[in-house]
Each structure stands twice: as structure tokens, then as C-alpha cells.
Symmetry: C2
Amino acid sequence: MATYKVEFKPDGKIADVKEGTNIKDAAASVDIVINSPCGGEGTCGKCRVVVKGSNLSIPTEAEERLISSENLKKGHRLACQTKVLGDMEVNVPEDSKIAESKILSDGKGQLVKLHPNISKVYLELDEQTLENQIADLSSLEKNLDLNGGKLVAELDVLYKMSEIIRDSKYKVTAVLDGNTLIDIEPGNTLGKKYGLAVDIGTTSVVCNVVDLNNGSNISVASALNTQGVHGADVISRINYTVENENGLEDLNRRVVQVINQITEYACNEAGVDPNNVYEVTVVGNTTMIHLFLKIPPKYLSLIPYVPVVSDPVETRAYRLNLNVNSNANVYVLPSIAGFVGADTVGVILASDLHKSDTIKLAIDIGTNGELALGSKDKLMTCSCAAGPAFEGAMITHGMRAAPGAIERVELKDKPVCQVIRGGHAIGICGSGLIDVVAEMLKLGIVDSTGRMLSADEVGSKIPDGLKEYLKENDEYGRHLVLDKSNDREVVITQKDVRQVQLAKGAIEAGVNILMKTMGISLDDVSEVLMAGAFGNYIKGENAIQLGLIPKFPLEKVNFIGNAAAAGAKMALMSREARKTAETIAKNTGYMELAVDPDFQNEFMMAMMFPE
Amino acid sequence: MATYKVEFKPDGKIADVKEGTNIKDAAASVDIVINSPCGGEGTCGKCRVVVKGSNLSIPTEAEERLISSENLKKGHRLACQTKVLGDMEVNVPEDSKIAESKILSDGKGQLVKLHPNISKVYLELDEQTLENQIADLSSLEKNLDLNGGKLVAELDVLYKMSEIIRDSKYKVTAVLDGNTLIDIEPGNTLGKKYGLAVDIGTTSVVCNVVDLNNGSNISVASALNTQGVHGADVISRINYTVENENGLEDLNRRVVQVINQITEYACNEAGVDPNNVYEVTVVGNTTMIHLFLKIPPKYLSLIPYVPVVSDPVETRAYRLNLNVNSNANVYVLPSIAGFVGADTVGVILASDLHKSDTIKLAIDIGTNGELALGSKDKLMTCSCAAGPAFEGAMITHGMRAAPGAIERVELKDKPVCQVIRGGHAIGICGSGLIDVVAEMLKLGIVDSTGRMLSADEVGSKIPDGLKEYLKENDEYGRHLVLDKSNDREVVITQKDVRQVQLAKGAIEAGVNILMKTMGISLDDVSEVLMAGAFGNYIKGENAIQLGLIPKFPLEKVNFIGNAAAAGAKMALMSREARKTAETIAKNTGYMELAVDPDFQNEFMMAMMFPE
């Protein structure tokens, strides 16, 4: 089969691809990640590119639906739909690329006593003599207090230990994971003992570097999960592994690559040698954990949605290709169920929900929404398929919280928008979406059924200036123009409002069913904890206005940030916190919303906006 | 640098090598292993080949010393000395190749209660439901009796378990190493549970396949250790790893390859799928163990001769590239000291020496000689640098116990020789060597100082016919012709007798010093146990005649065969036997002969033959 050259502008990267490859895959082959929240299904329209030349497939039905014929003529195409049939040049607009996001990396955790799993011991060994022919490993063992246990060593430590002991004149530092010697270093290196807490989100990955000598968080870095190229949500990713022979390897390689990149960055920033990172803790939803461990996630997407493993998994870094100390102990926190993962365990651990005397509700909004409700007496969780609306997918001009995204909206006599990093707006992200829908509700532009009113219907309820932004046309239907300073308008359409209804409805229905099942009313709840990577950027009153957060006194709503990552840090610093995490995973209940006979009804009702 | 083609006859294999490569290495590159007991030092003359053409280096000093000028003209050269300077054809005589040996693979061990480390459990799992969303691994755990422990799994088992569980309709067999799931198999496979006991000798490797359901030894195979191409003794091998950048990798690859080849052969013979081999036990001298594990053995050859590890090592088969079940548990038995290895622990375990009420002496003759003396009260060991004389090295026409080797000799009116597999004699192996020297001693051809008498000096003590075989010339000095049916005579020279004296002297001195140190006299010893791969082929009375075995009633000398391998099999079948092996390694003393002030004196005296 012929191969062709595809040059990507403005990067200038050139991909050599086989005839018939789609442009998205061609871009991926040279590490240009084109936004593709629908997973290449041709439904989201986010992967728009501009193609020069005619060596390409004719527009598909999806392209004709999502791109105006005028723009099609100009070469606008969907990267996931268009096939390469000859050499070509492709321009990838900024808003079709996955860019660095405004990712919340910090969260409030509980104070833990510093007691990490790994330890370091400085040793001054006796030189061996003919009368005292003790093996190198036995010589170390003799000098260690192992509570009567036997010292065993990772094979590669045995490979190097004889030279290190002699080169350092019998002064060495042993790195131990329990009674297992995972490394040996010349001289006294007690001061260098680091750990890494990893939070793998469907959308973004966060790594914290922690000094295990004092528990301080010395560096943090985050990046988008480049698995996004194969779909924004976990189901698209699972399908990709099922439908593509190397799909699992591909997704695994991507997440490991992202973790390695940001770990290298974070270590560099802090002046830490990655070889001195001996311990890694990992949280994430169950699918992310499976992909990180390269375990097939197939049955997570099929009834009854069972994971392969929900217990904590421990292994060595080299087995996962993580670029830290090759024998670093990797501890993956346990999960609760197929759709309530180690990240939720991290949220509970960090928020102390399992110890609370009073009933609390935790809402973790990521690409999915997970809920935990209860107290030390009983704790239940469930997962709501909120969908990726708040991540920008399925929204006409939705995008992630990247530069150019509208993150705040107020409706005065015209829409007043705040854009990330300033400049022209190129789309709208989750917090902006919540703002604008809440503002439209307040002004009556949207009614409680979610219907958008026309400028005529709205009448005198809104300023005349604003009315001019309320429009209707063939391309968008009824819509509100938020920004027209760019060559493309940024709008919110009736369809977008419906997507917000679906997302918030899923979460609200989850809350309601969970409460009903546990016999808890809103009055019994002492506090609502909002967790999640974008949680802190939400304006609380607008979230309540929407019904995304139950109608609740604002002062009792607390934003606890990226609590999953905070939980991972706790498990990194404390073996006791791991035990607690395991107890939480074991004792926390799980409710499968889909089996509740009231779910459909509740969901329909929850889609209504509060009056 | 130019590369040339070297064609090896009679195999017909062609090596492409760089200019200046020696012929031995060229041969090794196409897996023709040329005998090289001296490790390519040019001292043993065992690697003789016949080269056609003139594209080669001029004869070295070593070649001029070891090859007559007549033969040099005919193209006889030493493969380790001759460099390739152009395309050439090389004929490798059979006696320069390493061939299949007569290796003793069986030994007497103690009966053990069958209690292997790994276990198999057949499970019929509940199908998961929405109401019972239990993870696959947890579903297994629920059905296993782990004494309150938690089930953990090797990562690659997690990769495949979900499909296996469903394909087999929830009927699976779990393979467990303690609480670790090392494999999962569809259906009921309880009947297939095998183990492999490996004995890595300096000269040969033996593998026994054992049915772990009933303890029967169902198959055995052995082969020469192809590390021999880099020297017959452990010191040559260690030096090779020190002097060559990839030396350690090379030796490790070779021994693993041999083990894999004979394991495949043995499994085939027995109709066993190597994936059903879940447990491997390994014995060998300390150097062999280091090389097998790819641990640098350097400091074993330097005072004070310390190993990197003497404790048992446990790891998974995939880490050592063994072609059995990839997660098979590999258990390497512990060593006692730098030169008393896991093989000696195996001998003690198999012979029950550590439990004996009376004092016994075990002599394990391999390439080195190891001794164990004592009873249940106290047991001491030492290592004697006997050298590889009994393996054929350093002996004019010495060879391993391969086809064409003289293995029995009687001196009547002419030498009467028994040749392995019959036919023309091409050399003499260890048992033949012991016979001929013992016979010469009996007849007075050799006196107690080891001096060979001339035909004149012998006078009437020997038959006239035999006298004609006693000769003297420039090439061999004084010598006895054993066979002249071939185009090359097979002889025993004065120098050969000296080598036998050195070898037996080392062992005898070791026995004497060990006895003296422990305050034990020969009268206190109730039994002598002769172990070793070639032990059973020795004629006991001749070994006593020589002084190789102490002057001892022949009925109290017992040949126990390859006891090291028998010990490995015990450890394979029984976890308790492993504990015993560990106790033996811990409690058995070690004497370094080199530090004994009497050693040199004893050694000199022990070189004398008994009157």
C-alpha cells in the first residue's frame, strides 16, 4: 500500500502514513494530539482541521452535518473522518489541539504521621576477611534490624552491590521496602528520599513530588491525559481497547508517557534525581487504573461492570516503565467498584468522611461524577454518568479549561466574559458553562424545563442590549452569542443547555437516590464537600442555582479541591493511611444506580432546573 | 574493518567474522563449541583444528610448543591462538569439540513428604451480577483458603484472567505460590503440576522433571555446560567476566540456553508442557549460581573470596529467561561459602549427613572437590582446588567422558582399554586416568613419588609385552602408550601422572587438614560417601590405591552418585527440605584451607602415592 507525507501546520511536523489513514491518527503518529472527546465517532466536531489540496476522501455524513458547506469548500474537515489519499498539508487550529489545562493539582488532606513504606539505613560495614568470609548481602543483613526477618534483595541490586560496597569503602546506604533491599547507594544518602503521588484523571494527570524525610510537597506538575485522543470518556477508551488490537498498549503507553514527562519536569524543578524516588502511590478511576497497569478494562463496560482487580496492587516501577528508581514500590490504592475507583477512596481518605460523626455528602466532579454519602457509621457511594460536558465535550464551542476558554460569564447589558490568559475567546469551559446557564436561568432566558426563550418571548425581562445577543439561525438554532471578537463566534445553544441538564441531572439523580436509599434527607446533611480538578473554579451559588449542588446553605458547601490527589499523598507518607484506605475500600458500600427501579424517573425529574 | 567467511567442517556452518577474530570465537559465533579447558590461554592444546589456506596469523609461541612442526605444516593450529585474516575453511576434529558426556544425573536422596511450594486449586466461581459486582480477583480470593491472608496476583495474570474466567464459564484452576496467584488456567488442570530440579556443574548441567502430584521423577536430561568454551574451571570463567565487557552476559546466556535446551528435551520426552512447570530448584557451586543469576562473581576469585549472596535466592522464571511457566518460582539453594556452594548443601541434604549419629566423610568430585566431614553434632566443609584433571584438562590426551574416551584400563601384557561407545580411542577421561595410574602404581611403573620408570628400570616386574608400550621421545618425554589404533596415539605421560598427583593431593590434603582441625582420625569415620557426576564410574579400589579416597575398607565406601541433584529434587518436592537446606547452610562450618599454616606441607605430602 502506498504511503504519503502529511505536513502539519503550524508545527511543521511531517507524518509518513499509509493510504487511508485518518488525519487524527496521522497527527497522533507525530505526537500532535487532536482533541477528540467523542473518540473518533464523528459526533462531537471538536477535531476540525483545515486541509490544503484534494488528496483526501470525500466528506462523510458526519462532516456534512457538523460543517457548513461553505466551510467544507474552504477545506474545513473533521480529522477523525477524513482519510489521507495522497501527500497533503493540514492546518491544526489551536482549539482543536489538546493544550495545557488549568488543572487543579492541590487538595485538602488530613495530617498524617510520617511513616512511609520505604526506609533508608546508613551502614558502615566490616571489611570481609579470610577468617570472616561473609557474603555481601549477609554483611548488610547483620547490620540491619529486621525484627528477626530475613533480608532479601531485588536481583539487580545483587548485580551492583559488590562494586558499590568496595568503591565506597564499606560505607553504604541501604534502601529497603520492608525486608527487601531495593537499592544500595555509596556513602550516606539519607537526605535524599522522595516519593511521587500520581492522580490519573480521565482528562488530566497530576504528579506531586514529596520529600519523605519531612512530608513536604516540594513540586507538582500536571498535564492532559493524552489518551484523550481516543475519546473523552472512559467508555470510549475501553471501546478503543476492545476494537483495536494494540489499543490497550497504546493507551497504556500514553498514560505512562504523560506520567514520566511530568515527573521529569517536577523532579527537575525541585532538583530531585528521579532515582531517589523510591515510592509511588496512584489514584484514578477504575478504568484509568486498569489502563495504567495494562489490565484489559473490557468487562468494566459490560454488565455487570466488574473490574479485574479492586484490591490495592503493588509492584515495582520497572514493570510499569515508570522513570523513577527502577525498584521503586508502586502502590495503587484500592477501588470500591467498577465505577467508583481509587480516586474516590482518596477523596474519602482526604476528607475523613469515614470518621465523621455527622452525615456529609462528597461530590467529586471529573469526567464522571462520583458521590459519597454518610458518616463513620455507614458510607455509600455511587457513580453518575455525568458525561464530559463540563470538560467541554458535546458542547458546541465547549473546550477544556485551556487558554482562550471562557471561564466566567456574567450577563449584564451584554455578556461579560473572562477568558483564561486573556485575549480572544475560542470556546467555553466547564465553569463558564455553569455560569452562563445559571445566569440565563436567573434572567428567565432559560425556563425550568431547560427551554431557551426567543428574544421576543423574553420580552422586557432582560436589558435591551443583551437581547441583541439572543439569536436564532440554521447553524446553531436558538442561541446566545457570548463573544464575537474572533472570526468565529462563541455561542451557547439550546442543545448545549440540554447537555448541561443531562450532566447535572445525572448527578442530582444520584444524590437523590443515594439519599432515599439510605433514608437520609437534605436536612440530615451537615456539609457538602465539592471535590474535583475543576471544582475550585466553580462559582458555588451558580452551581446551586443550576441544581448541580443540592439547595443548601452556601456556607455549608466547602470546596476541597483535588482531594483524590491529597489522598494519594497521604498514602505516600503513611503506611497507616494505606491501611485506612484499604479499610475504606472494604467497608464503603456501592450502589449501582442502573438497577434502582426509580432511577429513570429520578433522572427525568432531576433534569429540570430548580424553579 | 574487513569481515571474512570461515566455513567449519564437517558441520558446514559458515561464520562471518571481523578480521583478527580467533577461530575459537568464530566457531562460537555459529554455536560450534570448541573444547577449551584452559580458557583460551594457549596452554592446554585441546582446541586443535586443521585449517585450509594461508589467510591466517603466523603460529604463536604456544602453537610452536604444543604442535609439532610437521603438523603445523599440515595446517594443524590451536583455535584459540590463530587469527582469521581472510576467508578460510576450518576442520574441527571430533575430539576438539564438546560432545555429549556420560553425565551422572541420578543420585540417592532421602525420602521426603510431598509438600511443594506451589499449589493448584480448582475453582467454580459464582457469575458476577449487578447486585454482586465483585472484582475477578476478589471472586477468586473468596473461594480460596488463605489462612486469613490476602490474595495478590502477578501482573500478567491480571492481564489475562478476565477472558480465561469467562471463556471457561467460571471454572478455572488457580496456581498459587503462597498467597500469590502466579497463573490461572481454564478448567480443571490439577493433574498437570510439574517442577524442575537443576544441577549446574562447571562441566555439565542436569535437569530433572518431577511430577509434583506424586513426586515421581518423570524425565531427566543433561548436557555439557557450554561456558566451557571460556575455560574449564571456575577461576577461568570468573576471569572471563572480569576481562570482557560482555563476559558475564555471555556466560549467563550460555548456561540459561543449556538449561532451556535440556528442559525442552526432558519435557518433550515426558509429554509435559513447559508452561505446567511452576517451580524450579537450582544447585551449583557458588560461581555457577552467580553466573546463573547474572551476579558478577569477581570477588569470588579475590581474597577473601566472598560471594555477593549466600542466602537462598527466590525469583520468577521470566526474570532469568527460563522457558518454563513465566511466573514459575525459582528457588536457588543457599551456599555455605565462596567455594562451598549450593551443590554441597544439596549433597549434605541428600545424604542426611547433618542428621548422622556417626561421623561420615562426603567427597564430591567435580571440577573442584568439596568435602564435608562430621555428624549431627558438628559438620565442617572445605573446598579443594583439585583442578580439572579428572575432567580431561591439563592431561596430554585427556578429554571428558564422551564417546571415544578410554574409561577403563587394565595393564596385562598390553594395555587393555574400554572405550565409551566402542571404536577407536581418541583420548582418556577421569575414570580411565584413575585406572591407568593405579595400575602403573601396582606394577611399579610409577613409584610412590610419582616418578615414571623407564622400561629398563622396571626390569622384570612387568610383562615383556607391556614393556613395549613404555616409551620415551621428544614429544611426550617418558610415557605409556594406551592405544595406537588411531592415526594419533593415546598416551599417558610423566607430566600427566604429575597432574593426577596434584589433583588427588589437593583432595587428600583437604581431608587430612579437615580431620586434624576437627580432631577426628580415620578410625572415627564410619562411612565414606563418594558423590559427583563421575563418581559412580570410578573403580573404588583404584581410587584407594591412588590415595584419592582415604585408605578405608572398600565396603564402607559408598558411591551416592549425583547427590547435589538429589538434594535439589528434595527441595523441589518439599518446603520442609528447603528449611532444612537453609539450616544446613547456616550451621555447617567452613574451613579455608589456604589460611591453615600446615596446608602447604600437607599438600606436598599428600602428593605422594601410598606405598
